[in-house]
């Protein structure tokens, strides 16, 4: 055979072989064993006791009943009462404002966002805006954007507004069970020092934050475990002596309207079940000790001798628990694209950076976003509205929906809707959204 033939054949066979050796090129995921997630251990004994049937005294028969006196509940009660509906507000502690005041989560976040013209402006008005304004006039809030308020001043202002609106207040009372007629909620059993009592209402607004009422009413929901913290405040932070020998800068938290007081946030343990009272109790005890030890450490640092622990929050900082499965689920996309809803009940702003479609959208570029009325409506239960951090949204949105500003907006929307439904003698599911928007505008809300 000639050399040239040989070369040619080698080339051909070489090429063919190279192709032949080759197999398809693709990296596939390694198969992995799916680890079983350990279920949360049942804290109860597993045994049951039957509660005897009994007659419950009827406390009141009202138009609107708001369960939970946090930012959403307070706004809802004020809004409903201002439309002329008789309104009861049930609150388990001795103050209004929930996590905002008693929980010491002092910043009213997401007050600002950019509009379509890229101007950053205030978006939260209405009852929430009124509260912020009153606090500012009292000199009890700092920062123009996302103001930080004084908790005692906020408790006072909220209570004054409730008083002015003529809401009937039930402090030290828990909403413990629902009174149902088929799929329609007729009222709520409340428990207090006076024992168990019933409050019948035409419309109930669930502002419990944990969604206790829609859970009891049998609606569908999603449960999200999140970190739970406990906020505390430090006093005398203005008397830290930085000139003292041996001074080391310590973390003493963030300023509040009162110069000598700082609030100290805690992220806390991750992935906590906020619906398990054993867990909450355990966390409470653990956190209090950690806070005490930390304050002791601060006090022992030269220059910090006068700092003291002013108070720990009256409730754990539960960030998230139940999320309603409502008529419309608000999505991250809705909040990023100026999506406009025909049944908008309020506009909320932005306070953190977000990832959207792989890109970073910083706080200063985040658009304002509308909240539709449908996301406050449960699918099953009639005459029930949901406001606060447990209304219907996508998990990706949680950072924006669980905060005070958004709660105030949804609360105002739900309250006004309930008031309108009473006035029009309509099922809240069928109210005229145009009229609702008109009413909200009358009440000072801003709808874009």
């Amino acid at each position: 055979m000639k050399r040239r033939d040989f070369v040619t054949r080698v080339l051909i066979t070489g090429g063919a072989l190279s192709l032949g050796i080759g197999c398809q090129r693709k990296i596939e995921p390694e198969s992995e064993k799916t680890a079983k997630t350990a279920g949360t251990a049942d804290q109860t004994s597993g045994r049951f006791v039957t509660e005897p049937e009994r007659q419950i005294p009827l406390l009141a028969e009202t138009d609107v009943l708001v369960i939970g006196g946090g930012p959403a509940g307070t706004a809802a009660a004020i809004a409903a009462s201002r439309t002329g509906a008789e309104t009861y507000l049930v609150e388990r502690y001795n103050h209004l404002g929930g996590l905002w005041t008693g929980g010491l989560v002092l910043p009213l976040l997401s007050t600002h966002a950019i509009d379509k013209q890229k101007n950053r402006k205030q978006v939260i008005f209405g009852i929430g805006g009124e509260m912020a304004k009153r606090l500012k006039d009292l000199g009890m809030s700092i920062n123009e954007i996302n103001p930080v308020v004084d908790p005692e001043a906020a408790k006072y202002v909220l209570e004054e507004m409730i008083r002015e609106a003529g809401v009937k207040m039930l402090y030290h009372t828990w909403g413990t069970n629902v009174i149902m007629d088929g799929n329609t909620i007729k009222g709520v059993f409340v428990e207090s020092k006076s024992g168990r009592m019933a409050v019948l209402a035409k419309i109930v607004i669930d502002c419990t934050g944990d969604g206790d009422i829609f859970h009891l009413a049998g609606d569908n929901y999603d449960v999200m475990n999140y970190a739970i913290g406990l906020v505390h405040r430090l006093g005398n932070v203005d008397r830290i002596n930085t000139a003292k020998p041996g001074y080391v800068k310590m973390n003493v938290g963030n300023p509040t309207p009162i110069a000598s007081v700082n609030w100290y946030n805690m992220w806390g343990k991750e992935n906590q079940d906020a619906l398990d009272v054993m867990n909450l109790s355990r966390l409470q005890m653990e956190y209090r000790r950690e806070i005490w030890d930390n304050v002791k450490k601060i006090k022992q640092t030269p220059g910090h001798e006068e700092v003291f622990l002013l108070d720990t929050a009256s409730q754990l900082g539960v960030r998230m628990s139940r999320i309603l499965d409502g008529e419309y689920r608000l999505t991250l996309e809705d909040t990023m694209t100026f999506k406009s809803f025909s049944d908008v009940i309020g506009i909320s702003g932005a306070w953190t950076t977000m990832l959207y479609k792989g890109k970073k959208i910083s706080v200063n570029e985040r658009p304002l976003w509308q909240i539709p009325y449908r996301s406050l409506l449960p699918r099953k239960t009639e005459n029930l509205l949901v406001a606060g951090r447990c209304f219907c949204f996508e998990r990706e949105l949680v950072e924006d929906t669980r905060i005070i500003g958004t709660c105030l907006v949804t609360g105002h929307g739900a309250g006004a809707a309930a008031g309108l439904a009473i006035k029009e003698k309509e099922n809240p599911r069928n109210i005229n959204t145009r009229k609702l928007k008109q009413l909200l505008l009358q009440q000072g809300a801003w709808l874009g």
Binding site: L19, I27, N254, Y264, M266, G268, E270, G358
Partner: protein, 393 residues
Amino acid sequence: MKNLFRSSNLRTLSFLFAVILALPLSWGAFTGFYTWLSPFMMLNSVLTIKTFVWLNIVAFPVLIFVLFRKRWFCRNLCPAGWCFDRISGLNKRRTYIYDRVPDIGKWLAILSLSSGIVGLPLFLVFDPMAIFNGFFTVFSGKMHIVAILSFSGFILLLAVHLFLPGIWCAKLCPLGGLQLVTDDLKTQVNLLFRKQKPEAQFGSGRRYFLMTGLGLIAGVAIPKMLKPPPDNVIRPPATVEPILLNTICCRCGNCIKACPTGIIMPSTDYSDIPGWMTPAVSFRSGYCLETCNLCSRVCPTGAITLFSVGAKKQLFMGTAVIHLEDCLLFNNKECVKCKESCKYEALEFVAKENILNMIPVVDKNKCVGCGACEVICPSDCIEIRAITRRTTQ
């Protein structure tokens, strides 16, 4: 309709089609589809990596067609050739005949293929589809001066044609050269079948032999001569080793154009000139989406190995490093962005001293360096660092 399939019209149509697909207009998996048509690219890729992807098949009809119709691809489909012809047409003075110029393209093709078999396709970057597609990368924005210069090679070639009309297609193009090789092979095979003596027609056998040998030696020797490229560049997932990348990446810019978040940039590192225009990752505009494998799907050469979306968690691009002093969480602010953005569960918040001082901690075995946390971090305290551990097949 009849006119449509006339050669000249088909070619213009093909050119327009190629331009549209080459422009960075979010064509997804079809970005720069013409690069798949080039048999030169396909053979280099398949011979070098010794594996194939199904899309390589589209180059086979072209390879077979040119056996029956000489230079069929050049005459009917090649968009680069269309441009060169138009420019050459502007030169009205005379027609050049380059009889005395050797078939450079043919030898480039042979050198490239033979060096590719042993691991380093030397002249893959001269593929006309790569040059043509690469030029349009300039329009993807965010370009560096080096990138614009490099991708302007196409403009330079166009300018050359004003003075030397037709020179590229006739003599320089390795894709054209490859068609000459297949032609020679066809002749040879025909002769073998007919049991005729091949001497008369197959005169260049000696040169084939020499060039192939030279290519093989170059393919073995050159990688040993090169100094290893810097290791601090973050590459797209499943990118081949840096030395191989420098030659097997044809600089077509498909990955840069296809990337939905625009994080793939041409490398313009002055200390690594052989690596210019290879894909590098910068997380300024986004992160490597956990649901995306477009860069690997559009890569016609296998420089970015095709991977399935599910495999992303084992394809390490880098790893996150957190500078705690600026971390909001460490400073007791409410921030969970890095953990929330991590799609690989590689970030945990742990108590540093006590529960009041939580810090984010990266699990290096899970963090693939997708950059989501770097992008999202409101205080810019996370940085992705390249790591040497890469998964390739």
